[in-house]
Each structure stands twice: as C-alpha cells, then as structure tokens.
C-alpha cells in the first residue's frame, strides 16, 4: 500500500525526544536511563536530557498534596517544552504526565491547554518504540526464561501489554514464560509500600510465587518501583530469580550490569546468584 493511503501519519524521520529519566532511575538505577537512550537512538531519535527535570510529582499528587503537585507540574511543562516527544522508562511516571498532570489545571484554562498539548506528546518507552517508531526487533541477546509483569499504570493508563512481548520475542536466546495473573499489582503503590508494609509484602509474595512457578529465571517489568519491590521480596525469600527493567534486556545491557538487588562484587563459585 502506498504510504499516502496508510491510516497513520508517517513517523517523523528523526524526532527530537526529551528523555524523562524519572527520579527512581536517576537515583537508583541510572543504567535504565542509558538503556532508554540507546534504544531511542537506535530507533532514529535525537535524544536530549533536559537538566531541569526532577520528579513527575506523584509522591505529592497521590498523598493529596495538590498544591505541590501543581507546582512541580508547572516546572515540568517549562523544562520539557518544545520537544516532539517526551519519553519515560516508566508507565507510572508517563501515566502521571499524560493523564493526570492536565487535570491539575482544570481551573486554569490557559495552562490546561498547554498541559493537554504537552500530555499528548508523552509516551512510555516500550510502547513508544513499537507504536510510534514502528520498532519490531531489537539487536540483543539474553539467555534465559523470562516472565513479564504488567505494571499497573503502564498497562491500564498507557496500554503497554503486547509491545513489550513483541520486542522481547525478538531477543536472541530469550524464552517468554507467562506467569499466572501477570496483570495483578505487585503491591508497590508508591508510599503504600511503606504505609501498609504488611499488605504490600503479601502482594509482593504472591507475585514472586507466581513468577517462580512460571518456570522463569528472570522477571522483567517496565517500572522501577515495582521492580525494587519484587526484587526486594525475592531476595528476602531467597528466591533464585533475576529481576531487571525490561529496557536493560532490550538494549542488550545485561552483561554490564548485575540484576536488581544482586551483589556487584564477583561471587565465588557456589555463592550468591547465578
């Protein structure tokens, strides 16, 4: 079919993309940000990392502190203005910017209009690669049986489901093993994880159990919050499962970086994780 008849507008040849790093990636696992850079550049994007960004504001927004959330939202609108796309390696932060941020300005039509225009350009990394950039294949290798946890905001707010599996299927050596209830929350929930730790831990235990019984040796997801929760619980339970952000595998970075929560020093034979 000629391009002119295709339903979708043709993708920009080399769009200018702002990477929204997210506070957890910045603080805890910067490699996920570099994996995102690598994937976006391989997909033909010119990526910049605006320096004035900090956090999407969810800790305030979900704690009922609307004034702070609004203040941070204004700063985000300024810091990330003028890009073709804003991409985050997190469904949760992308969901905040795409679906919630505009409503912080329901009583301010001018800012609301600006926020709507901004929100329309916000994407979660994996779905952006597949849905917007048309990526169907990545150059990566990962030996292992992998199960993929559908993080809640990514799944329900950003529609990330098949895209992750499409790209994982193209990774050499990787076998996908679906677990029972991949769409059930892992119990992280931001401040929920420390406000209601016993409930949170129970939910995380259900997740690690389901992951283990899938026969997978690796659990992947698209949100670092969930991953810290799941990896933390798995470590406490002594489960032999590697936990990683999906971008690390898709970018072929796993050789350079131990799994989340795994020791960084070289393990002696028979010690620690594989």
């Amino acid at each position: 079919m000629p391009d002119s008849l295709s339903a979708q507008s043709p993708p920009l040849k080399s769009p200018r993309v702002a990477l929204f790093v997210t506070c957890l990636v910045d603080l805890h696992r910067p490699s996920v940000g570099f994996a995102a850079l690598r994937l976006l550049e391989a997909a033909g994007c010119r990526v910049e990392v605006p320096r004035a960004q900090t956090c999407c504001g969810q800790p305030a927004y979900n704690s009922g502190d609307r004034a702070t959330a609004r203040d941070l939202a204004r700063r985000i609108l300024d810091a990330l203005a003028g890009y073709d796309y804003v991409v985050a390696p997190s469904g949760s932060c992308a969901g905040m910017l795409r679906h919630h941020l505009p409503h912080l300005f329901d009583d301010d039509p001018n800012t609301r209009a600006k926020a709507d225009a901004f929100a329309a350009r916000v994407h979660e990394l994996v779905s952006f690669l597949v849905d917007v950039r048309g990526v169907t294949h990545v150059e990566a290798r990962y030996e292992g049986n992998v199960t993929y946890h559908d993080s809640c905001s990514g799944l329900r707010e950003m529609g990330v489901k098949a895209q992750a599996r499409t790209l994982l299927a193209s990774v050499d050596g990787l076998t996908l093993k679906e677990m029972n209830e991949p769409e059930t929350c892992c119990g992280f929930g931001g401040t929920f994880s420390v406000k209601y730790p016993e409930i949170s831990v129970r939910m995380a235990s259900d997740k690690t159990r389901d992951a283990a019984s899938s026969g997978a040796d690796t659990l992947l997801a698209g949100d670092l919050g969930c991953l810290l929760n799941i990896a933390g619980r798995a470590a406490r339970e002594g489960r032999d499962i590697r936990v990683r952000h999906v971008a690390e595998v898709l970018a072929g970075m796993t050789e350079e970086l131990p799994p989340i929560g795994a020791p960084t020093r070289v393990a002696k034979p028979g010690e620690g994780r594989k």
Partner: protein, 474 residues
C-alpha cells in the same frame, strides 16, 4: 453500625495472620474475576452497555429530586407508603413503628446492605422484634453474630467447616451425628429451618437493587429465591433502599440488569429478578397487605454536586472488590464498616466522615483494576485520591508524613540542590551496601525492610554519569 475503620492497620495485620481466613480468601480469589471475564467475553456489546449504564445513572443523578418524587408518587398511587429518612436513626424508628403497628414478633429479611448501614438487627432485637436473615450467607452470619465481609457474598470469609460448626451449634434438635457430605446438605438444612420462619413472619424486609420512578416498583435480584418468600408471604413488606437506587424507567432497569449480574457473579442474569409494586391488589392471589418504602439519605444527598457524586452511580455489583488484590489480602472485615473494597474506600468516608475513615482511601496502590471492571465506570482511584486531598487539606495525615513530603518537595523544586542530594544519597547507599546488592535493614526504613530487602543503588546518579559521559564526548 460501629465504625472500626480507624483500626484498619491492626485489623489488616490480624487478617493476614489468620490462616483460616486466608484459606477462605484463597479459595475464592480469582473465581469471581474468571466468571466475569467469561460473561463479558460472551457479550460483544458489554463495553457499550457500560457506557449506557453510566449515562443512565448520570442522568438520574442530575435530576435526582425529580425522579425521587416521581417514584414516591407512583408508590403511593399503587397503594404503598414512602418514608423519607435523612438519618439511620430515622430509618430504624420508621421500621420499628411499622413492625409495632402490626404487633410483629418476627421479621424475615432478604439481603440488604442498608440494613447493615443502619444496624437494624440489633435495634429490632433490643425492641422485642426478632429479625431472621433468609439469605444463606446472611443466615449463618446471624448465627455467628458477625457482619458481612462482602456485599454480595457476605460469608466469603468462612470455610465449609465453619458452616458445619455453626449449624451443629444452632440446630440442636437435629441428630448430632448427621453428615454434611456436600455443600447441598448445608443448603437443605438451612431451607428446612427457614421454611417455618417464612410462614410465621409478620413482616418481610428486603433491600432494593433498583427503584423504578415511572412505575413505583422496587427490584431485587437473588439466586436463592429467599427474597420472594420474604416479600410475598408476610402481611407487610418493607423495602429498605437508599436514594441513589432510583432509575427513571423499566427500560433503564433492564439495561442496568444486563451489566449487574455479569459484573457481579458472571451470570447473564441472576436466578430470580423480582419486581414489586405496592401491596396486594384486588384479584391478586398473594402479596402483602401493606407496602412500605424506607428511603434513606444518610449523607448521600451531600455527595450530589460534589467531587464524589460519581460514587452514587454504584449498583453494588462488587466487581471492584472481586478484582482487588488488597481486598483479597485482608478480607472485608478489615475495612471496619459496612462497605469493603474500593467502593467502600470511597463511600465510607462520605458517609461516616474522612476523620474516621482516612485509612481506607490510603490503603490502595491505585492499581486501577477496580475502575477497569466497574460497570458504571466510577473512577475509584481518582475518588480515593480526592479523599487524600481532603485529608491533606485538613491536616489529618500524620505530621511526619507531611514533613517528609515537604522536605522532598523542596528538593524537587530546586533541581541543582536535588542533583547534589541525590548524588550524595546514591553514593552513600552504594558504599554502605559494600557490593552486597541489597540491604536487609536500613535506618528509618523499617516499613520497607520488615519483609523485604532494599536493593542497593548503582551508586552514581543518572545525571552525574550523563554529565561525565557528555564531557568525555566533547
């Protein structure tokens, strides 16, 4: 009913440690969701029906006064009486006055959450009227002096041996060595016990799934037929309903019925769907002589026009709690009042006050599953967040939470300071981890590390490493 919601954390912890409760919850977890999914998959227009259902309820709520008055006028026209009650007290008194008017000694009851909301059973008993629950689940809860833990499966927290124990204890005139080989045996015994009660009752009380304005009818759906016996055998039928149950027409009712059972139990339709309009008319073979409707507000009219109005669309299907991982971790009693799960976490603060129910809207991960299955598309996580906002405005959240949030917010507003702080924190934590990968304990993080390790950060922030790599490139 007492409000035990301030005690949510302790109740939840106890529930997590209660092996028998956990067995019961595990046995049902997933079953509701699987049945709903199958019912939805079999009906291609289900999504369109959800939109239609939402639109019907939104329209009704926008003209609530009109439809309530139309409904009341049509109840009176059919020979019934409507009692407008703004509080639980008024509703209880109205029920008792009707019972006293016919010297009622026993009252049979169909399942009604409004009855729980106004704590009717205790009140009637204290005033010499014996209520008898006829829904199987409610019946055993009455034997055990317990509140329901779920709005349509009230005894979901019990296992089969709990049923057996309660029946053996209560039905002492039966052979002690009788066997309950299967679930059916429990049902048969309950049916035999209840049959006499149905026939002896002076008054029958039911709830209502819908009140139809154009006809003055009330509608109940049941799977046991107990509602029909409750409302047709005694001399008096009392309908207990809250004001948001009204819908304009019969046609609207059928649309809502199409989403109700599918969302609730995954049935296309409940086994019994029963319409009742006024008392027995001339030529009718059966039915009550007197027909009363207790129309309860109890805080709902204050929700109209507020940011919580969407909650009044709720048709009490229970899909939200049936899909809620928090509900299935802690069970319905942990929530501490009448309505558990996500719908309860929004409705309870509206009816009893956020100062007593603050835990409920906070005890959610905002996973969004509830909203995705709600047949009338109530944005439950958003409404819970609005309660958190009310709580924050009124300084009801713990001061330490507020202080932490303020500190974090200051850094988040000052990117340069934020970079320095995160760089230091990340490096310090990585050093402290000494290559172990995760912390088993961390100062000030007992909440996290009680049941989980805390994975150690890589040690250099993204922004520090990015700046370093950019410099190298130049």
């Amino acid at each position: 009913m007492n409000v035990d919601s301030p005690d949510f954390k302790r109740r939840a912890k106890r529930a997590l440690d209660n092996a028998s409760l956990q067995t019961a919850l595990t046995a049902t977890r997933g079953a509701f969701a699987a049945r709903r999914a199958a019912a939805v998959a079999a009906l291609p227009e289900f999504e369109a029906l959800r939109d239609a259902a939402k639109a019907i309820k939104d329209h009704t709520l926008a003209h609530l006064d009109f439809y309530l008055e139309t409904y009341a006028a049509n109840v009176e026209r059919a020979g019934g009486h409507v009692h407008w009650c703004s509080t639980a007290d008024e509703a209880r008194e109205a029920v008792l006055a009707i019972c006293r008017g016919v010297d009622a000694r026993t009252v049979t009851k169909g399942k009604s959450m409004i009855s729980e909301e106004i704590a009717l059973n205790d009140y009637l008993e204290a005033n010499g009227v014996q209520p008898v629950e006829t829904d199987l689940g409610e019946y055993i809860l009455q034997l055990r002096h317990e509140a329901p833990s779920h709005i349509i499966a009230p005894a979901i927290h019990l296992n089969r041996d709990d049923w057996e124990t309660a029946f053996r204890k209560a039905h002492t005139d039966r052979p002690a060595d009788r066997r309950f080989a299967e679930r059916r045996d429990i049902m048969v015994e309950a049916r035999e016990e209840l049959r006499e009660k149905f026939l002896a009752a002076d008054v029958g009380i039911t709830g209502a799934n819908f009140l139809i304005a154009e006809t003055g009818s009330s509608v109940i759906v049941t799977n046991e037929g107990n509602g029909d016996l409750t409302q047709t055998l005694p001399k008096v039928h009392i309908v207990l309903a809250s004001i948001e149950k009204v819908v304009p027409t019969l046609e609207d009712t059928t649309s809502l019925l199409r989403v109700l059972a599918r969302s609730a139990t995954g049935q296309d339709f409940s086994v019994y769907t029963t319409f009742s309009t006024g008392p027995r008319q001339e030529g009718d073979l059966d039915g009550p002589i007197d027909y009363h409707v207790i129309l309860l507000d109890n805080g709902r009219s204050a929700m109209v026009g507020s940011e919580f109005q969407d909650m009044l669309r709720c048709i009490r299907c229970s899909a939200c709690m049936n899909h809620c991982p928090v509900f299935f971790a802690v069970g319905g009693h942990s929530y501490g009042w009448v309505y558990p799960g996500p719908m309860g976490s929004v409705l309870t603060p509206a009816l009893v006050g956020i100062e007593r129910a603050g835990n409920l809207p906070n005890a959610s991960t905002f996973c969004g599953k509830c909203e995705s299955v709600c047949p009338v598309k109530i944005p439950l996580p958003n409404l819970m967040r609005h309660w958190r906002e009310r709580e924050f405005e009124r300084h009801l959240a713990p001061p330490v939470v507020r202080a932490n949030l303020a500190l974090w917010a200051w850094f988040a507003r000052h990117p340069a300071a934020y970079r320095l702080a995160t760089r230091a924190a990340s490096r310090a934590m990585a050093l402290a981890a000494r290559g172990r990968g995760a912390f088993r304990r961390l100062p000030f993080a007992g909440g996290w590390t009680g049941g989980r390790d805390f994975p150690a950060p890589e040690g250099e922030t993204f922004f520090a490493r990015y700046a370093r790599e950019q410099r190298r490139k130049r």
